[in-house]
Amino acid sequence: MELYQKTIHEINDLLDKKEVTVTEVTQAVVNRINAVEKNTDAYLSLQTEEALEAAQGLDTELSGRTQRTPLEGIPYGLKDNMCTRGILTTCASKMLYNFNPPYNAEVYDRLSEAGGILLGKTNMDEFAMGSSTENSAYKKTRNPWDLNKVPGGSSGGSAVAVAADTAFYTLGSDTGGSIRQPASFCGVVGMKPTYGLVSRYGLVAFASSLDQIGPFTKDVEDCALVLNAIVGHDAKDSTSLNLEKIDYTNNLKQGVKGLKIGVAKEFFGEGLQPEVRKSLEEAIAIYKTLGAEIVDVSFQHLDYALSAYYMISSAEASSNLARYDGIRYGFRAEEYSDLVDLYKKTRSQGFGDEVKRRIMLGTYALSSGYYDAYYKKAMQVRTIIKADFDQVFGGCDVLLTPTAPTTAFGIGEKTSNPLEMYLTDIYTVPVNIAGIPGISIPCGLDNSGMPIGMQLLGPILSEETLLKAAWAFEQESGLTNLKASLGTEV
């Protein structure tokens, strides 16, 4: 196996034994980028020169000591909606084509402190709005399992970088499934932690009450390692949870004997691709053999989640994205007649169609006369969905669901119908509404060889349990560190 194909914990073994250097590891992944990035287009900008320099510096430093920390010297990528001082942060939008933030996202600071080596900023749907990464203003990222298919979204670039071995891990953000769904489409592990577990400071906001940063990794153990580095209280984020830190690798390998895994029929409704259903049934069987207890659970109000999600997320987005006005930073239209015209021209030319659609939807939902019917109603439905989850988790420890109704679809297949695109998020959005954690791991391939993702959900702050359940499955099924073909050229 090539160096760039390995997992973080495998590289850690090699680095700790001093069998490889950080420079060799970094060079390997940079070579891989040079070889395949033209096919996948996962990155919006690359820092490979700086990465190699940092690697050499770190090697010198590491030669003088025996201990290194788990992410020290491991090259990674960041979704381009996390602010990086001195490095463009565009959110894949024309609006921020030249934005150079004078501050760092908290997660970037933490990864820098942990010795991470930044390779570049990954492509995404503009302002994280989308489910296919086709809404990027700059490029279309391709699914390494079939280059004619979408990688999912909105963190498509981050998912592809890990799937195509052009990063050992990446961070994405998940507002309605934007980590889990692309992880599912690309055959990698993706986790959305509990709301408030990872600081949102410096994450360009889409929907503040739903956004959460999380990792993409090649296997579950790596997920635990990255999570260790990014979670924790941040005084700069008022919604950040102030909890004692735990090591997510501690109980990782304890197995699932006696664990109650819930299965709800509401997650297996119409529109579910038959192979996905079959694959999930096989996964349930595996859990049974591992000694988990499978229990039937049910939801009363899950049908309302998607509507509530689009109202809440669009309303918050309409306000969060109002600051892009061409005055203090970013794009400004070249021609305008007065101040109001400056606003309108700048925003109409700077934002892409999907972003404008969401701003319009959100503005409408908050506007006078409609607030109660849409926004307030959605916030009430949120209470109901939360209660639904509380009741379900009263009967099980973990809920097992498909991550998405289908495997990756073709590029351009759903762009003409926004509602159809929104429906691909149906299994992921309830999680953000309730603020609970979720992880997507590979659980098989469909008839055309595309990865299928399985989602494990748990109550607030159940990350340890989710990781334990995910790891047990991964070990038993052997579906770990899957290698994409990078096939079917256009």
Partner: protein
């Protein structure tokens, strides 16, 4: 319910966006479809349900009243499309 072209124009102005005639028509259809879908919500009686604004019951998060360093004027203006005399510049604002 569907969205009228007037609704679209009103909301566009609130959001400081402008659209061509064709775009207005398309938006009325697309947003109308999403809103129609969202109509399912109206079937749910939520009259006695409290709205959830924050999923976690975090409260009273405060900062101490202590001065920390600011950006320099150059840093503050570095990303500005237009500036003059240490300030951001915009077209004349009518008083």
């Amino acid at each position: 319910m569907s969205l009228t072209r007037e609704d679209v124009t009103y909301v566009a102005n609130l959001a400081r966006l402008e659209f061509s005639e064709d775009e207005v028509t398309a938006l009325a259809d697309q947003l109308g479809a999403v809103l129609d879908y969202a109509e399912t919500l109206s079937g749910l009686d939520t009259s006695h349900i409290k709205a959830t604004e924050h999923v976690l019951a975090v409260q009273n998060v405060f900062r101490e009243d202590e001065i920390k360093s600011c950006l320099t004027n150059e840093e503050a203006l570095a990303n500005a499309p237009e500036s003059e005399a240490g300030c951001f510049k915009v077209p004349r604002v009518m008083e």
